[in-house]
Assembly symmetry: C2
Homo-oligomer: 359 residues x 2
């Protein structure tokens, strides 16, 4: 087992990465202070892993909420179901919450923990590659709104993150690829050596080579932990983690939550950001090709859905957390391994990228 | 104008107390950094003060949400209306929100600000005595749940609090009395001289003597600011501000939100807490009489509704933020001017208080 620390002073916490951690009762219970524990999971994960987690919690008062699976359920209504259950079971402010699932469960479980009685402690047990390398780390929690992704939420850090590599065995191929989109992102924004490694090892990852996966998760979490420690509340460098996300969120919102996986939308969005970076004169055509190539190799889409024309794209992007006074701002690339802070781009360039790609 | 500071390091902010502050554009605009400002208010306050606040904001992009008035509307649904409006108007993360109203508006506006895009800045303009002396200061925001008061929320501090004494002129008598319940609380938990002053000046306050009101608001805010600065997240002494609130919340929840004003329920709850403190051997009968007398003088109820028997009371109190692992804990009094931290009390004593008072 490897342990990475997210250095956030009084809110610092460990990320545990290893195989078989879902059988390690001592590890989990070290981070539980209460008799009352609520496990939040979904209908896909419950039959696979819920019993194993409950086994680790014997002797405690444990309750579970099983939500439907999918981005379309990442809503205030779902979070309300968690609140209802916590209150029906008379859970106190010292209770603990465990989010067992992918990014959707982690984001909602974390947000429920942030708001229940103005904050109870919680633990992330991510069960998808995407959640392990990205969403479970750093304390961004929340839900979607019909008009925008992740528009309602809180910064709220977990007690720990437990990433069991063994769960990746049950992940379907589409989810695995979606996770790789965020892995590739770390290479692009700040870790060019890792990007080169990914170019060489993409196939090993798709084949689920356990050593390659463990390395990719560790290096991704290491990058994420560094960025989050430097800028917890996203007043600066943390925004670079949003490479491709403004376009990506527009695709997810515009096509209906759940039709594109988050990682798929981010893959497309990153290719659009790369194209726009080229139009700004920052990336050369070769770099753009390498970027498109690695996403294709990871079996991810790189072209936006034809249903979204550039006008609709612009409309959807007008709501984004990086915008200032309603002006669109994006993360772009200066080179492979170096991202910009949020920048405003000429509307004309943006429309050219959108119409060229949208076809 | 008096300025009190809430000392919370990076989150410190001023409370401005004075007459005519709703005409002071410079004061308000000093705390607004964005072009986009959302004013949240209710149907009672809008006709009285909304135009005056909008006048202060000329030249900015200002939008308003007018919610129905009353504790029964302090719900996630109302907060969702604020989110909808913010998104429809494409408000960015640098936007500002102004909560113009009583405690319900302040709590919901603050919670909406805490969660919109994971946090935008907000300003409290409290328009009731209760909001000026208590709920607008200290960053407790949130909404009710059918099973418990203030069960969903966040600690989230405003940029400033603007308490215009002039608005107290339009407050109805019942609201004025309700506010006095929280004023009296400060005397009881930590300021015995203020309690004595209130015994002497209760009538002046009911007559809306402007000097007396200004003094009561200042001294209350000073007490609140001290307690909040010492313990922002309520891990210790801040819980003493909850004197009478466990009983009070049970009354509000049990009778249906809005049937008792918060201050009325707290007045009853404080008398119950005083009785229980006497049964613990801490308060003498004379002190209990003084407490009952001042609430009566302030035209507040001191006996719980007969519909709530002690069994139902116990059930409602089983959900409270001070409870640990489901065990009821209360704030009691050691003397007039000295509160305990949360204590567990013998179930038998608690039932005796409830049945003696409930009749």
């Amino acid at each position: 087992m490897k342990t990475l620390q997210v250095d956030l002073g009084a809110r610092a916490y460990p990320i545990y990465i290893g195989s078989g951690l879902l059988d390690d009762s001592a590890l989990l219970r070290r981070h539980i202070q209460s008799q009352q524990v609520m496990v939040v999971t979904n209908t896909t994960i419950a039959p696979l892993y819920l019993d194993r987690v409950l086994n680790l919690l014997q002797g405690l008062h444990v309750e579970t909420v099983v939500l439907p699976d999918g981005e379309q359920y990442k809503t205030l209504d779902s979070v309300t179901r968690i609140f209802d259950h916590l209150l029906q079971k008379k859970f106190s402010r010292n209770a603990g919450l465990i989010a067992l699932g992918g990014g959707v469960i982690g984001d909602m479980g974390g947000f429920a923990a942030a708001c229940y009685q103005r904050g109870i402690s919680f633990i992330q047990i991510p069960t998808t590659l995407l959640a392990q390398v990205d969403s479970s780390v750093g304390g961004k929690t929340g839900v979607n709104h019909p008009l925008g992704k992740n528009m309602i939420g809180a910064f709220y850090q977990p007690q720990c993150v437990i990433a069991d590599m063994a769960v990746l065995a049950t992940l379907d191929d589409r989810q695995l690829s979606a996770g790789l989109a965020e892995v590739i992102k770390y290479g692009l924004i700040r870790d060019p050596d890792f990007f080169s490694w990914l170019e060489r090892h993409c196939n090993d990852l798709l084949q689920r080579d356990s050593q390659a996966l463990a390395y990719a998760v560790e290096r991704s979490c290491w990058n994420k932990a560094q960025v989050v420690a430097a800028d917890e509340m996203e007043t600066g460098v943390r925004a670079t983690l949003n490479l491709g996300h403004t376009f990506g969120h527009a695709i997810e919102t515009g096509m209906g939550y759940g039709s594109y996986l988050h990682g798929e939308a981010v893959a497309i969005g990153t290719c659009l950001a790369a194209d726009l970076s080229r139009r700004q004169g920052w990336l050369d055509a070769d770099a753009v090709s390498r970027i498109e190539r690695i996403f294709k190799a990871a079996r991810l889409p790189i072209v936006p859905p034809s249903q979204l024309d550039s006008k609709r794209f612009m409309e959807l992007m007008a709501v984004d957390k990086k915008n200032v006074d309603g002006l669109i701002r994006l993360i772009l690339l200066k080179s492979i391994g170096a991202a910009t802070l949020p920048v405003s781009v000429e509307k004309k360039l943006l429309e050219m990228t959108l119409s060229d790609y949208g076809g």
